[in-house]
């Protein structure tokens, strides 16, 4: 009898429970990036590590005037690459092309591009929307890569101008 009474009380309590009003709000659309952000960041680090190492040597040598053999030898190596047949193309690829690839894969990992039709009741035109996901590592890699590319472009431009003069 006691057990039955307890069960009744329990059932009553359960019936009188106030159920929270849940109104599920799903996103209108799942926006998928073209590439995986973590994988792109992992590859991106390896793509910019060599140009970053080279730039570090340059800054240490010319801007901080640390004239050790370590930093000076890096330039000799890059010059050696340019002079060696069959691998003379490696220098520009390492210093410019790899950071550009890093920018592309990381940009594809955090952006979503969509072209959709506007409401026909309005103008009826098309709408182009770009969504960018805030992923710290991907954005940081893009910025570092941009800095590397612009540094080398600036170097090539100033070098050409000084040669012409």
């Amino acid at each position: 009898m006691v057990i039955m009474k307890e069960q009744d009380e329990f059932l009553k309590q359960m019936e009188n429970l106030q159920v929270p009003d849940i109104s599920p709000e799903h996103p209108e659309k799942v926006k998928m990036a073209i590439m995986n952000a973590d994988r792109s960041a992992a590859l991106g680090v390896w793509l910019i590590v060599v140009p970053s190492y080279f730039l570090l040597c340059v800054f240490m040598y010319y801007f901080f005037h640390i004239h050790t053999g370590w930093f000076g030898s890096m330039f000799k190596m890059m010059e050696g690459l340019e002079r060696t047949p069959y691998i003379d193309f490696l220098g520009p690829i390492i210093l410019v092309v790899l950071p550009i690839i890093c920018i592309i894969i990381n940009a594809l990992a955090i952006t979503h591009v969509q072209v959709k039709k506007q409401n026909p009741a309005q103008s009826g035109g098309r709408e182009f929307s770009i969504t960018i996901k805030v992923k710290l590592w991907n954005i940081l890699l893009i910025l570092i890569s941009l800095a590397i590319v612009f540094t080398f472009i600036a170097y090539v431009m100033t070098e050409n101008i000084s040669i012409q003069n």
């Binding site: 998928m32 995986n36 992992a42 590859l43 060599v50 190492y53 053999g69 030898s73 790899l98 969504t131």
Partner: protein, 82 residues
Amino acid sequence: MKLNWFTRKGIIYWPVSIAGWLIWLIALAYAVYTFIDIDGRSHSVSDTLINFVFNLLLIGLAYTIIAYFTEAKKATADTDQV
């Protein structure tokens, strides 16, 4: 083609199959060969290290590119939600 040769932990790819281990061993052997070759031609310890670090980074880059395209895919899609 689905290849499961490597798995990623952070920015390092680790081999998980025979093919993966073979590539890892080839990369390691080439790094050792490069070190011995550079050491034979250089005149000081720093000269060896300067040239070897550059080559090691390039070997690491080539290894990572191979591993990137042959890594084990997760059950979820390869893309992220934005």
